[in-house]
């Protein structure tokens, strides 16, 4: 079995599904001959032709909009945006139309679209290339929002996203595009959407993250383990709809929780998860849920990027506070 990176897993999933289903078409800026700026579509045009892997003119709103027309006619468009910071021109089409066609036509038309975009900071890119604004999409009824965190989950979740009958915003954490290699079986098996994955079992504290930050989160868990503290680590994976059950199940064991995300704190997804925990599992908690997030600032240029991004020390501080609250919160 081949050891592949996350971005290679994306390519592999696209290729598998294009081979399986002639209705899958891939398009975006530079995705054809060049194979995408991150090479996620590398080799697809040579293999599947110019009619199925298309370089579009440079207009994101157009990319988002034509996907809708294709989808309502039964194709399975997979549209790439070069960076999440450039998806904004397409927001109107995604929010006002892709997310609503099924409802607007009472089920007559639907938009099985995947909108893919590399997202997140940490690669020393110019401004607008490091955004983590997933909450914009999470808020919108009718959309699915998926973030893989490993090659295997990228492969399985992307297949699921393409096969899903509804629009999926698929955000790829580009910081870990090539961070690890993993064995991925190219057998076309999808992973379930709307499900969180427990990456590590533990009984002392629940750490919840998604995408690139799972790397640091797992490091924290390892470090804690050397001290005899076992953290359960949950990869949210599908950010909307949210799998609160897996989180509650975990809290029944751990009673403590830290949420970790790269996006700004205010109205970030951590707020929603914390709020649902409050509604459904308040009695289980031995300490208030803590959030470790990006700051409520513009993502800085790369010299200060590390200041913005939550890292192991900030996660560890929050974890200690939550653990200590249980030990001596009343003191």
């Amino acid at each position: 079995m081949a050891q592949i990176t996350l971005v290679e897993a994306i390519t592999q999933a696209l290729a598998f599904e294009m081979q399986r289903d002639p209705k899958v078409v891939v398009f975006g800026e530079d995705v054809g001959l060049n194979g995408g700026v991150f090479r996620a579509t590398d080799g697809l045009q040579a293999r599947f032709g110019h009619e199925r892997v298309l370089d579009t003119p440079l207009a994101e709103n157009m990319i988002a909009g034509i996907a809708i027309g294709m989808a309502v006619q039964g194709l399975r468009p997979v549209a790439e945006f070069q960076f999440m910071g450039f998806i904004y021109p397409g927001l109107d089409q995604i929010l006002s139309h892709a997310a609503r066609y099924r409802n607007r036509t009472r089920g007559r038309l639907s938009c099985p679209i995947v909108y893919r975009a590399p997202y997140g900071g940490g690669i020393h890119a110019p401004e607008h290339h490091s955004e983590s604004t997933e909450a914009l999409f999470a808020h919108i009824p009718g959309l699915r929002l998926v973030v893989p965190s490993s090659p295997a989950r990228a492969y399985g979740l992307l297949l699921a996203a393409i096969r899903d009958p509804d629009p999926v915003v698929f955000l790829e954490p580009k910081r870990i595009y090539r961070a690890v290699r993993q064995e991925v079986v190219d057998n076309g098996e999808a992973l379930p959407l709307d499900r969180a994955f427990v990456l590590r079992e533990g009984s002392d504290i629940t750490l919840i993250a998604w995408g690139a930050l799972l790397k640091e989160t797992l490091q924290v868990a390892e470090q804690l383990s050397t001290e005899g503290i076992e953290a359960e680590v949950i990869d949210l994976a599908t950010l909307k709809p949210l799998d609160i059950h897996t989180i509650i199940d975990s809290l029944e064991k751990t009673h403590r929780c830290v949420l970790i995300h790269e996006a700004a704190r205010f109205c970030g997804l951590g707020a929603e998860v914390a709020s649902q925990i409050n509604e459904y599992a308040f009695d289980l908690l031995h300490a208030p849920v803590q959030r470790v997030t990006g700051f409520d600032t513009v993502m800085p240029y790369y010299q200060l990027e590390d200041v913005y991004l939550p890292g192991v020390p900030r996660i560890m501080t929050a974890v200690r506070e939550v653990l200590e609250y249980a030990n001596g919160g009343a003191a």
């Binding site: 909009g65 009958p165 799998d243």
Partner: protein, 363 residues
């Protein structure tokens, strides 16, 4: 002063098409389709569109319908476009297209349902694959381009018959990026797309002159490298012929084209608007002299195939139809409460079951 020598690299012409002038006189030989039967049928459909609009406005005024955008004065465009399309083509409309929707087979009560706040009005799966109407300006033109891509793709890759997409929008829509992006892509990818601009001179209160410095809207297509034409949008024969030709080109693999249909909105922008605040009254009066129904009726009369008795008979027949539709609309109970979740996703994700259950038993 030194004047640099320059070479002319490109130049263009914009043609305009008309068959029937304001006084109902033909300005040239009519195209083949224009048999008495077809012309009577077009007249009938324009009359119906006007009656449906008129009734909608009255229902809105009496609280039986929500905000409604009438197409009074521009019936020739909707009806011409709808009639010229093949059943298998796909229409991607803006919101002011009652005439076209009726031509496409959408029922009157469905149109009332849409504006009466019931999404079920856009589930006309019994007639066509047309898109629902689009409220955000010009966005539907990109859906049209996507549909056109899919139709081309399905023909070339999957062996389906050749079909085309038609999309419409107002003069205001030509100021938006979606419009430029759609025609630009359609030209580049040679998509089977027909773009119809309903130039009714107003985008709410902003006149056509405030929208662009372009002399015609048709010439905007030049920048996208696609053929275009201006037609008299009050002449249903011209609209029909232009759309027919554009569709033929698309069906033959010749790619996209654009039609600017020039008309005048003779009503408020919607029932929530008061056009007297901005529309000069002389302009409206003049425009009534050019409206599409009267001129076709005069022409039909000149052929000796129309008169007061035919008109009365038509009005009676259509009124009966309209009354029946109004009755069906009024008697349709509102959708069940849980319907707000039923079509949000293909199947309801677990995360929403609790909210869904809150509404159960509420219906």
């Amino acid at each position: 002063m030194h004047k640099p020598r320059m070479q002319l690299l490109a130049s263009f012409d914009i043609a305009s098409l008309q068959y029937l002038d304001e006084s109902g006189q033909t300005t040239q030989a009519l195209p083949d389709f224009a048999t008495p039967d077809t012309l009577v049928s077009l007249y009938r459909q324009m009359t119906l569109a006007r009656m449906v609009d008129d009734r909608a406005v009255k229902m809105q005024r009496t609280g039986q319908l929500g905000t409604y955008p009438s197409s009074l004065g521009q019936e020739a465009i909707g009806v011409g476009v709808g009639a010229a399309m093949a059943k298998e083509d796909v229409y991607c409309p803006n919101y002011r297209e009652t005439g076209a929707l009726l031509e496409r087979g959408v029922r009157i009560e469905e149109i009332y349902a849409i504006w009466g706040g019931d999404e079920r009005g856009q589930n006309y799966r019994h007639v066509c694959e047309d898109l629902p109407l689009s409220v955000p300006i010009a966005t539907q033109m990109l859906h049209g381009a996507g549909v056109a891509f899919a139709l081309k793709y399905k023909h070339e890759q999957l062996g389906e018959p050749i079909r085309a997409a038609v999309t419409s929008g107002g003069d205001g829509a030509t100021s938006k990026g979606d419009f430029y992006e759609a025609i630009n892509l359609a030209g580049d990818w040679k998509l089977p797309l027909v773009v119809v601009i309903n130039n009714n001179q107003w985008a709410i209160s902003l006149p056509r002159s405030g929208q662009t410095a372009c002399k015609t809207l048709a010439q905007k297509a030049i920048a996208a490298g696609i053929p275009s034409l201006q037609v008299d949008g009050n002449d249903v024969i011209a609209v029909y012929q232009a759309v027919l030709e554009a569709l033929q080109l698309a069906h033959e693999g010749g790619g996209p084209s654009m039609i600017e249909a020039v008309t005048y909105r003779l009503c408020d922008h919607t029932t929530a608007d008061d056009a007297s605040r901005y529309q000069p009254q002389e302009g409206v009066k003049e425009a009534w002299g050019r409206e599409p129904l009267r001129r076709l009726r005069i022409y039909l009369e000149s052929l000796g195939i129309w008169g007061d008795s035919q008109e009365e008979e038509l009005q009676r027949e259509l009124k009966e139809m309209l009354e029946e539709a109004v009755r069906v609309y009024r008697q349709t109970p509102r959708d069940k409460s849980t319907a707000i979740f039923d079509h949000l996703y293909g199947t309801l994700p677990e995360a929403f079951i609790e909210q869904y259950q809150q509404l159960q038993g509420d219906s």
